[in-house]
């Protein structure tokens, strides 16, 4: 029986595709409401989930199952699709399908009155198909393909409410920023093949272990490959799209932050051996991770929009993954991803539940919801605990392993930075918690019941999953939990989390006259709340050059290239028009013209003799005295 599940593992990405096909009738024929589209997709996702779990059971403790499917056979290039069903892959697929399932239930409640159900569920299914296919494929080429499809999906799903101007620009920014990364990744993919002769991750790892290339080549290829995950994981300087992508419906935000972005990081982790070929690339990965993590954590503290706070925290955590990959800590990176994705899902789901009934996402307009929204508050707390380095929750162990290995490798600076990031994230989350749930109720938050059960149940489920992540990971023996002692580095982590949490409560939990921001200089506040002025950077680095070049080329096109063409066209016409006045019909004019022409012709023909003429005259002495 188990064999059958594994052999048909390729069906997992196809279930959501089937869901898309089933959705189509509700896009075009609107005789009935669009709700069946949602229910059908829920069903296909459930089927995919069950199949994944059965596969996971079947592959338990066994060797991974691999097989390949030919895709494209052109000339000397044959691209085949290598599937790999290992415990790790399937666990990741299980996370994706579970969260997808919960998000789809969540969307039933959250978008209850929306007319775009068919489109929404179609896109959710597209994401699920793309992500599961990416996770099951063991090939960089197909990862690239899936990432591109996800980029398109992001564009469409962020633009879901397309008649709002902010949504339109948000969708555009998300698409183009991700596309920049995609294309540089494509350059890397193309450049890698002639060097390695394969795109399979497993073969790439063996290839890389023999140190085949070095120096500039390795650095350039590595940097190109790094660019894809940088844009996918919203790392500096390509991080702003995640912020604009928040314009999309909230259920998709849950999905994006909890799984779509980690899937980008998955590709990053898979490429670790290739990055390790060049120390420069590793250095860049750590540097980008560090800058992103610290910068994003600081920015998130300065935001008043609840969604933005969480989106920057996502960037910060992905920064940690970059640090882990840059220091070749593959296991830790997987661990970080898995525990992060469930925790952030719980956090965003609970903020969504607040936005839904309070109709605002402005932190300054919220407060005092603790007594009114206990379930949401608890989910939020559990999500926070899952994301902050406190034992016994998931991220703590991941961070502890990261810290321990950093310490043993003597990487003191990254070690200190991870501690700082942990503290800053804890501070940011507590600040958000205090501003939403503590204090006095305000106008927008005074009447706030818990929302409909289709929102609450998935939210609670995500929170419960967050609590269980360490237990599950340990039972699955997926990740390197050798010992569960807290250790010295663990103590330091707890200190940093405690400091962040404590400061947060001191600053925001207790009612005071002045907010912490009032003690800070204005330039500092502006710098943080305006995302380090990254918009200006984009404007000057990308938008302005492209727009100016386009305008310049347009000028050349109209006035130089086409100008010459039109000139060539106009000249014969003009000369014809002008010359026709030379034919008035009077013979005198003709004779005059002929005479002038004869003189000119004569001059022309004797031109070379004219100087000689003078000489001859002189030599004959005609002008001599």
């Amino acid at each position: 029986m188990a064999e059958i599940y594994l052999q048909s593992g390729w069906l997992i990405p196809l279930y959501p595709l089937l869901g898309i096909l089933l959705t189509v009738p509700w896009m075009s024929l609107r005789r009935t409401g669009p709700r069946p589209a949602g229910y059908l997709n829920l069903l296909t996702t459930l089927v995919a989930l069950v199949h994944t779990v059965l596969c996971l059971q079947a592959v338990w403790g066994e060797h991974p199952v691999r097989w390949t499917v030919d895709w494209m056979q052109v000339a000397d290039l044959s691209i085949s699709l290598p599937f790999e069903l290992s415990t790790l892959n399937l666990a990741a697929v299980a996370v994706v399908t579970v969260l997808n399932f919960l998000v789809q239930i969540y969307a039933i409640g959250y978008l209850e009155m929306d007319w775009g159900w068919a489109r929404l569920y179609c896109l959710l299914a597209l994401f699920e198909a793309g992500m599961t296919a990416l996770l099951l494929c063991d090939s960089l080429f197909f990862s690239y393909m899936m990432l591109e499809i996800l980029t398109l999906g992001t564009y469409l799903i962020v633009g879901f409410w397309f008649n709002q101007p902010l949504v339109v620009t948000g969708a555009r920014d998300a698409f183009l920023t991700k596309r920049v990364g995609d294309l540089i990744l494509l350059m890397g993919v193309i450049a890698l093949y002639p060097l390695a002769g394969t795109w399979n991750y497993a073969e790439l790892a063996t290839w890389a272990s023999q140190n085949p290339i070095g120096g500039t080549t390795a650095t350039l290829v590595g940097l190109a490959l790094l660019a894809g995950p940088i844009s996918k994981c919203a790392q500096f300087p390509l991080h702003l799209w995640l912020d604009s992508a928040m314009e999309g419906p909230l259920p998709t935000t849950i999905l994006r932050n909890s799984v779509v972005i980690p899937v980008g990081a998955w590709v990053l982790i898979k490429l670790t051996p290739v990055f390790a070929l060049s120390p420069v690339v590793d250095g860049v990965a750590v540097a980008i991770g560090t800058i992103s993590a610290i910068g994003a954590a600081l920015i998130s503290i300065a935001q008043v929009d609840v969604k933005r706070v969480l989106s920057y925290l996502t960037t910060a955590f992905m920064g940690l993954v970059f640090i882990a990959v840059g220091t070749s800590q593959v296991g830790v990176a997987y661990f970080l991803l898995m525990s992060f994705s469930v925790a952030i899902a719980a956090l965003i789901a609970s903020t969504g539940s607040i936005i839904l009934t309070c109709i605002t996402q402005d932190l300054t307009q919220l407060g005092g919801l603790w007594s009114r929204r206990p379930v949401t508050a608890l989910s939020f707390i559990f999500g926070t605990l899952g994301l902050v380095g406190l034992p016994p929750f998931g991220v703590f162990w991941a961070m502890r392993f990261l810290e321990t290995s950093l310490w043993y490798e003597g990487q003191v600076l990254p070690f200190a930075i991870v501690l700082a990031i942990n503290g800053l994230c804890a501070f940011s989350l507590v600040r958000m918690f205090c501003l939403i749930f503590l204090g006095k109720p305000q106008v927008m938050s005074s009447r706030a019941p818990e929302p409909i059960w289709t929102v609450v149940i998935p939210m609670v489920a995500m929170a419960a999953l967050t609590l269980h992540i360490p237990v599950m990971l340990q039972t699955l023996k997926l990740l390197p939990i050798m010992q569960t002692a807290i250790g010295e580095t663990g103590l330091l982590l707890i200190w940093s989390s405690g400091l962040g949490l404590g400061l947060g409560i001191v600053f925001y939990g207790i009612q005071r006259e002045k907010l912490p921001a009032d003690y800070m200089p204005q330039w500092c506040i502006n710098l943080l709340s305006d995302d380090f002025y990254t918009t200006g950077l984009y404007q000057n680095l990308f938008i302005w050059p492209v727009a100016t070049t386009a305008k310049g080329f347009n000028w050349i096109e109209r006035y130089v290239i086409d100008g010459v063409v039109n000139l060539v066209g106009v000249l014969p016409l003009l000369s014809g028009e002008t010359l026709k006045y030379v034919n008035p019909g009077r013979s005198q004019v003709y004779v005059f013209t002929i005479a002038i022409c004869v003189v000119l012709l004569g001059l022309f023909m004797s031109w070379s003799y004219l100087p000689h003429l003078g000489q001859n005259l002189f030599s004959r002495g005609l002008f001599s005295r």
Partner: protein
């Protein structure tokens, strides 16, 4: 006889149109285009894929004194091009508005164009090819000039003059091939047998490249194209952009790469650079366009650059990509032009500033918008759609030979995303102006061509082998070159032109 039928059937259709009343014209024309399409499908089933020779060859003496004989034959490249032609002719006729003026003349001219284009793809004699190449100007000139939009006579004249110059240049090369190469007549086999020195090969390639470069077109020989496409009505634009532009790249492959391989190897780096410039330059121009159709037209020029890049690299992989890209370009351009035509017919504008919110499911044009997203994203090279496979093969193949130009080409796909996002954001997204939003319903007849093309774009994108396999023997036969083998600089080429015989 099998190939003569391919040309004869549309001509018969054109004749049959005379026998029916104008009201029936479209139906008859659809049959006139549909039967050749079915015939092409039959040819696909009969095509021997392992055979790299020309198949179903036909030969008959015509004017042996001139070296002009009626010689036809088909290989994988010709088969794909003919398929594109017959398919897009059918689509173009289907997408024509039913209330068109003088329908019988219109449809018969369309059918004649299609027949002549098929002829040039299956001709086996240079002079015969040239006859067909020039002959398709006449119906197209009339089609643009009679049924075109604003500035149609300017556009038609520009088109005519440009293409006539291109023909003249190509003819020069052809005569050069015959006389200098010492061939008996103009048949491809005889011309291929030449023993031209490298110097002469390069010299003959220059007019050939410029001549076909006008047709493709390449910057700066391209300005006829946006004017012509914009002025032409939708069906004519589909034929022009989808099929006719391919004559340029087809000619370069058939005469440049196959007949003058050594010269091609010398010229290839220049062509690759030229292609990269075309890609980038036209992509930037597309960004600033306000007119939907003009934007698509510039995008078309930009994307022909990939075909050229693939042909310049001249290895098996890049040529597969190049031929596949010709097909993909035709399909995508056809769907985009068709949709722009529908939008223009329903909304009454092609101006990006006037259009908005067409994705609105109730009062907008949701189907057209969805298809527009598909077409635009296919053009931007999103995987799973046909362009990606083709472009990827081009890039992977040409990267080995011309890494820099290839990377520039990849930047070009990024710019494609930029202008198509502008297009989608302005037309499909945004708020629909409720005062203007009383659009006529989009009928099934207007949806059908887009659906057919969309299915092809997706299916061939998911399963690119179905596209790539046909041309493989052709490439094996064609590829004999290693670009950059003779490292020739600009000075050397100048020397060649001035008669330096050191090479």
């Amino acid at each position: 006889m099998m190939l003569t039928l391919l040309m004869g059937l549309p001509l018969l259709g054109a004749l049959a149109l005379l026998l029916f009343p104008p009201a029936k014209a479209k139906l008859v024309a659809l049959w006139g285009a549909g039967i050749p399409l079915l015939w092409t499908l039959w040819l696909f089933s009969q095509f021997d894929i392992s055979n790299s020779q020309f198949q179903w060859s036909e030969a008959g003496a015509w004017l042996p004194v001139l070296g002009l004989n009626y010689e036809l034959g088909m290989d994988g490249l010709g088969l794909l091009m003919v398929a594109l032609n017959t398919l897009l002719t059918w689509i173009a006729i289907y997408s024509a508005r039913s209330e068109i003026e003088r329908p019988r003349l219109f449809y018969s001219l369309m059918l004649i164009t299609s027949s002549v284009i098929s002829g040039s793809f299956i001709a086996q004699n240079f002079l015969l090819f040239f006859l067909f190449y020039e002959a398709c100007l006449i119906p197209l000139y009339l089609l643009i000039n009679i049924w075109g939009g604003e500035k149609r006579s300017y556009a038609a004249t520009k088109f005519l003059i440009y293409t006539a110059i291109s023909g003249a240049l190509i003819l020069i090369s052809g005569f050069g091939l015959l006389w200098l190469g010492g061939a008996e007549d103009f048949s491809y086999a005889a011309l291929a047998d030449n023993s031209l020195s490298l110097k002469w090969q390069v010299l003959l390639l220059v007019p050939l490249a410029i001549g076909f470069g006008i047709k493709v077109p390449m910057v700066p020989l391209h300005t006829w194209l946006p004017d012509t496409y914009v002025a032409a009505s939708t069906p004519v634009a589909i034929l022009l952009g989808g099929v006719l532009a391919k004559l340029g790249t087809y000619g370069l492959l058939r005469f440049g790469l196959s007949l003058l391989p050594d010269g091609w190897a010398v010229v290839a780096p220049w062509i690759a650079t030229w292609a990269a410039i075309t890609i980038i330059y036209c992509a930037f121009l597309a960004i600033v366009q306000q007119d939907l159709k003009r934007m698509v037209a510039y995008s078309s020029v930009s994307h022909m650059g990939y075909v050229l890049l693939g042909s310049a690299a001249g290895n098996n992989l890049s040529l597969s990509g190049c031929i596949a890209q010709m097909m993909a370009h035709g399909l995508v351009l056809a769907i985009l032009f068709h949709l722009v035509g529908v939008i223009e017919a329903k909304v009454g504008s092609r101006d990006l500033d006037q259009l908005n919110g067409l994705m609105n499911p109730v009062r907008g044009l949701p189907f057209v918008s969805a298809m527009l997203v598909l077409g635009a994203m296919a053009s931007a090279g999103i995987p799973g759609l046909v362009n990606f496979a083709a472009e990827f093969a081009v890039f992977q193949g040409s990267y080995r030979v011309f890494p820099l130009q290839t990377l520039v080409g990849i930047v070009g796909t990024g710019l494609t995303a930029v202008y198509f996002v502008i297009l989608l954001n302005r037309t499909c997204f945004g708020r629909l102006d409720s005062k203007r939003a009383y659009f006529p319903k989009v009928s099934f007849n207007e949806k059908a061509p887009a659906l057919v093309l969309a299915v092809l774009i997706v299916v061939l994108g998911v399963q690119p082998n179905w596209l790539m396999r046909w041309s493989e023997p052709t490439e094996v036969k064609t590829v004999v070159i290693v670009p950059g083998e003779h490292n020739v600089s600009l000075r050397d080429i100048g020397g060649l032109l001035l008669g330096d015989s050191s090479l």
